[in-house]
Symmetry: C2
Amino acid sequence: MTSDDSKRRYQEIAELLARRIAEEGYKPGDKFPTERQISMEMGISRSLVREAFIVLEIEGYLDVRKGSGSYVADGEKISLNVQKSDFGPFELLQARQLLESSIAGFAATTITKNDIIRLRETLELERKAIENGTEDYLADRQFHLLIAEATQNSVLVAQVEDLWTKRENSSMWARLHDRIFDLSYRTRWLDDHAIILEALRHRDSDRARHAMWQHLENVRLTLLELSDVGDPEFDGYLYTPAVASP
Amino acid sequence: MTSDDSKRRYQEIAELLARRIAEEGYKPGDKFPTERQISMEMGISRSLVREAFIVLEIEGYLDVRKGSGSYVADGEKISLNVQKSDFGPFELLQARQLLESSIAGFAATTITKNDIIRLRETLELERKAIENGTEDYLADRQFHLLIAEATQNSVLVAQVEDLWTKRENSSMWARLHDRIFDLSYRTRWLDDHAIILEALRHRDSDRARHAMWQHLENVRLTLLELSDVGDPEFDGYLYTPAVASP
DNA sequence: TCGGAAAAATTGGTCAACCAATTTTATAAA
DNA sequence: TTTATAAAATTGGTTGACCAATTTTTCCGA
């Protein structure tokens, strides 16, 4: 990951400049060198610098003002966008355990017949995938997303989607994906899902909350087992305790 | 928010193209029109289109390949970024009630002495701000964020930060901000925060969870009151029920 | 007819020049 | 000296031309 040829030029320049902001003691509101200054200094055209500035502006580092110059943005936004995007699997599971069990409990009070039908269809897709030995990652995701959608709260849906995106972007998860989706486990996840659906169908809030918690606890324990093999890849990913059972 | 003059040109173009991807039935892997095609079609220079493409590439919509063209990226990321970004205040509060009360309950089991000290300092900032009649929005945000940080789970911190960002970007909230931060209410929020802190200090999980729930319930009820004046601005923002008390 | 090399076309990448908004400086009137 | 105004310099905004990588087409030999 040190020198990626496929990386676009403006990205390299943007990273260079970002580091410069971080390391050269620029404070929010400070004036940043102009596009021309940097282009001359680096011996490249202003267009390239301009493209890099756009990246920095999008990422919240810079505030570009026509006729005036570019200024380092407020610290708040920087810390927000700079923050790490590669989360460990245990952190992610812990967050899901907390959020999704609450959502399941709430969804039990708002779920409609239609939601239940769609959940049942998704479960059927999972079952068939296991039968055929094909991939069912999307069905898994779909199942959890449908529960969030049953709350009829788009913020909650966005939160759950975000968790799955974080998982997909997790460098650690990529290595675990194949192992955790081993056939021997998948029937267990399917059973878990069936229990959750049953609780939702009975509109039993406590049972739904607990079923979701238990499901993610099972995944967590399995992950822990898999990582106990002595895999050095897990270095840096602290063991994270489960949230208490609801 | 219909036509912002201060918006940079490339952003407008990027949004136009993003809508085009979303609405014109582009599927992942589909070839997107070339920079030249779009520049001619829109009657602008290719550089502008190029800058917009960079935005779309960063946001995960496009995959740009030199000599070949630009292609619509994987569906996963798109759905995340295309989804609406303007949430209603009741939806947001409902989500916060669900997530933050769970977090508060969990944080009670993981909180350190240092966290409590920082929470106390933030509370003091809020108190002084009320005394001086100055703005204390940041202290409010800080208080809730510190609780998330006490869980030592960066995913949860990111989730809470995301909720505050959504709130700041909420067009509806902008109108309500001044009213809800009226002095007469602010002392109440301060009291709520003090109760939460007390529960956390005693490491009482149930009490912390309930205190956070009650705090956000109070905000919700106040908001409901304010909106009951017959404000037509609330059209389109459905009334959203509270989540059940934990 | 097929395969592969060469040539042409297409595409994104880079550049230097010019335009327009803003800020700074110079100037003159009060 | 102060202040209002205009000119100049500075800055980001936009454009068209040219460069380089990739893809497509052409064409020749087996």
